[in-house]
């Protein structure tokens, strides 16, 4: 098992090197002008001097070797304006990762719950409307979605903020609040939701069970309010741009997870074990939640995990449309400046996140599904 895991990790890292190599050549060949021209302008000598200083006069493959040599040691190199690429990324990554984690988890939970509900009810109207709506969400054009949300929601949000006495926010979210949200807030929310749900199940209170997600979110807010750093976090999370970006991400990802969950559930519903469970008199709800859903969630999770790079790319678009500081605005600004190292760094980080997600998925699958486990080296 350990050997298997180690093998996967090593091959994963080699894949990442391949990704970075490809991105390196693609971007260097595609960007029309380099930073030297931007800085030096029409003055040819100055531009040439800057180019020599930045090492851009060397052949491309030497630059590539240099970049890879730094990359394998965890160094993303130097941005063209002289600062480290990591410092740029650290400034915006926390905000984007928080947005992605919060939005993605909420979208997944909503999609799973709703897909379960729709697949199990045989109502045709519900089925047709829900699939239409979620297909439309999934294929919505992000800038449009963001504009509509801002147009109808942002002013009210500003009203709410001033009512609570929250001041304006500048710049992306710093690291402290992010750790608060990810390490404390979300687990608290998760545990609160699970405790409430199991309590409701034991005492046969179905209505209370439905409250699990709202209570979890409430737990998140309460957990965050408990300290000064977290008030800052809430302030950042409730900034209209951030809220709009999160809601847009939730709507888009919700459409996908709901459709996949529903399709998976409908496929499982005709299996023999469902028939057996019915025959021995298991209540419908238990068949749905304990038998069918358990089998159907694995494909949903695997699909969401593998679409992480795609969703992150989408989030960059959403963020830049919503004008909230994050990976998106950094990316567009770097394209505007022709700052190749930062663009490469962003793509490498997205690839790294996708890779970590995929390795985590392998681990989760091996832990949950005995069919996936292999003892040999075969992947």
């Amino acid at each position: 098992m350990v050997r298997f895991a180690a093998r996967r990790v090593v091959w994963g890292l080699i894949t990442l090197l391949l990704v970075v190599t490809f991105a390196f050549f693609a971007i260097n060949l595609l960007l029309p002008y380099d930073f030297a021209v931007v800085q030096g302008g029409q003055r040819y000598r100055v531009a040439e001097q800057i180019r020599v200083e930045l090492g851009l006069d060397r052949p491309l493959w030497v630059q590539w070797l240099d970049y890879m040599w730094h990359f394998v040691r965890g160094d993303l190199g130097q941005s063209f304006d002289g600062s480290r690429v990591w410092s740029h990324l650290w400034a915006v990554l926390p905000a984007t990762v928080t947005l992605f984690a919060v939005g993605g988890i909420i979208a997944y939970l909503l999609g799973e719950w709703f897909g379960r509900l729709v697949a199990w009810s045989r109502s045709r109207i519900l089925g047709a409307t829900s699939s239409t709506v979620s297909v439309l969400f999934y294929s919505a054009f992000p800038p449009w979605l963001v504009f509509v949300l801002l147009y109808f929601g942002a002013n009210r949000l500003y009203g709410v903020r001033s009512w609570f006495g929250m001041g304006p926010v500048g710049g992306p979210m710093p690291l402290g609040p992010v750790v608060g949200v990810l390490a404390v807030g979300l687990p608290v929310a998760f545990i609160a939701g699970i405790v409430l749900r199991s309590w409701a199940r034991r005492h046969q209170r179905r209505v209370l069970g439905l409250l699990a997600i709202p209570v979890g979110l409430g737990g998140l807010v309460v957990g965050l309010l408990a300290s000064g750093v977290w008030a800052e976090a809430i302030n950042r999370l409730l900034w209209p741009g951030a809220v709009v970006a999160a809601v847009a991400l939730i709507l888009i990802a919700f459409g996908e997870s709901m459709l996949v969950m529903r399709a998976g559930l409908t496929a499982e519903m005709t299996e023999d074990y469902v028939f057996t469970a019915r025959a021995k008199g298991v209540p419908e709800r238990l068949i749905r939640d304990r038998h069918v859903a358990v089998n159907a969630t694995l494909p949903v999770i695997s699909r969401l995990f593998t679409s992480v790079p795609y969703l992150l790319g989408g989030l960059v678009i959403i963020e830049s449309a919503a004008g909230t500081p994050g990976l998106g605005s950094l990316f567009l600004a770097s394209i505007e400046m022709g700052d190749v190292p930062i663009i490469l760094g962003i793509i490498a980080v997205i690839g790294l996140i996708g890779l970590v997600m995929r390795l985590a998925l392998d681990a989760v699958q091996a832990a949950i599904d005995p069919r996936v486990r292999t003892d040999g080296g075969r992947p």
Partner: protein, 306 residues
């Protein structure tokens, strides 16, 4: 109803066609797609017939109607209203649909071909070639294509056709190749392949009559869903309009949003909606066909109700 035929009487393709026709998602998607196909080709016809006496007013990019104030809502003269600069939205939309359609077709063709060749060859040759192809596919899946296209569009070289081709190359080498390879490997392990071989079936016969039918529907699912991503990417490239002004549906959304801010007029809802819904509905038509297809080809969904 006639007497049901025995399973071995129903040919594979006829069975597939019947199942597709019964699938509402597929039917809805095809209907939506054909509506858009008509819209994409209707622009010159409208210019020649309904708009013929005032052609300059309805010209897509430079037209202007001097008789009314802009932006205006739907009216008899302008079925979808006019945008803040006084151009007819229906004309803009039908005109802008053409590059969008071109992208969709280019992605579908190139992703399909590349995915089919890469996936089946990996499954057929196996060994080291297969391992190399699998690693390439793994790497390509980790790349976020929309971002690379934003970089590429900075140069202004990417027309809709090129964008479609390159996006299709990514989709084909990545997800499509993975799916096709897995599927082809599964099919080639089946006993009927051995049977076909033992009665003297040539490799060509086996590939065209046994492997391809098993692989094609799965390929179609992946390819169609990658069209969705390509359409949204193209819309966004147009929306940002970096470097070079190309006309498309993304521009409609961009114009509606920026002119509202710049000119201080009300929101040009008809312009905004025409652009956004044009992209989104066309994309969802492809997605519907894809996900309907996925349901229809799942053998576990064959008629068996408990």
């Amino acid at each position: 109803m006639t007497t049901p035929r025995a399973p071995y009487d129903v040919a594979g393709w006829a069975d597939a066609r019947a199942r597709l026709r019964n699938n509402k998602m597929v039917v809805a998607g095809v209907v939506l797609l054909s509506v858009f196909a008509v819209l994409a080709f209707v622009h010159p016809i409208l210019q020649a017939t309904i708009w013929s006496d005032r052609q300059a007013v309805y010209r897509p990019v430079t037209g202007h109607d001097p008789l009314i104030s802009h932006p205006s809502g739907p009216s008899l003269d302008h079925f979808l209203g006019t945008d803040p600069l006084g151009r007819d939205v229906l004309s803009l939309m039908t005109y802008g649909l053409r590059p969008t359609f071109l992208v969709a077709v280019a992605v579908a063709v190139s992703a399909g071909l590349v995915g089919l060749v890469a996936g089946t060859s990996a499954a057929f040759f196996r060994g080291r070639y297969d391992r190399v192809m699998t690693h390439i596919a793994d790497a390509v899946v980790l790349l976020p294509p929309p971002l690379l296209f934003l970089v590429a569009s900075k140069r202004g070289l990417l027309g809709p056709f090129e964008l479609g081709l390159i996006y299709g190359l990514f989709a084909g080498l990545g997800s499509a190749a993975i799916v096709v390879r897995a599927r082809a490997l599964a099919v080639m392990e089946k006993p009927f392949i051995d049977a076909a071989r033992s009665v003297g079936g040539s490799p060509r016969w086996i590939i065209t009559h046994h492997v391809l039918p098993g692989v094609l529907p799965h390929l179609a699912v992946v390819v169609l869903s990658s069209v969705v991503g390509a359409l949204i990417t193209q819309g966004f490239v147009e929306f940002l309009g970096i470097f070079e002004y190309r006309y498309g549906l993304g521009n409609l959304v961009y114009n509606a949003i920026t002119y509202q801010r710049a000119l201080g007029t009300g929101v040009a809802w008809s312009t905004l909606m025409a652009g956004a819904l044009g992209i989104s509905l066309l994309a969802s038509a492809f997605y519907m066909i894809s996900s309907g297809l996925r349901e229809a080809i799942d053998p576990r969904r064959a008629k068996r109700r408990v």
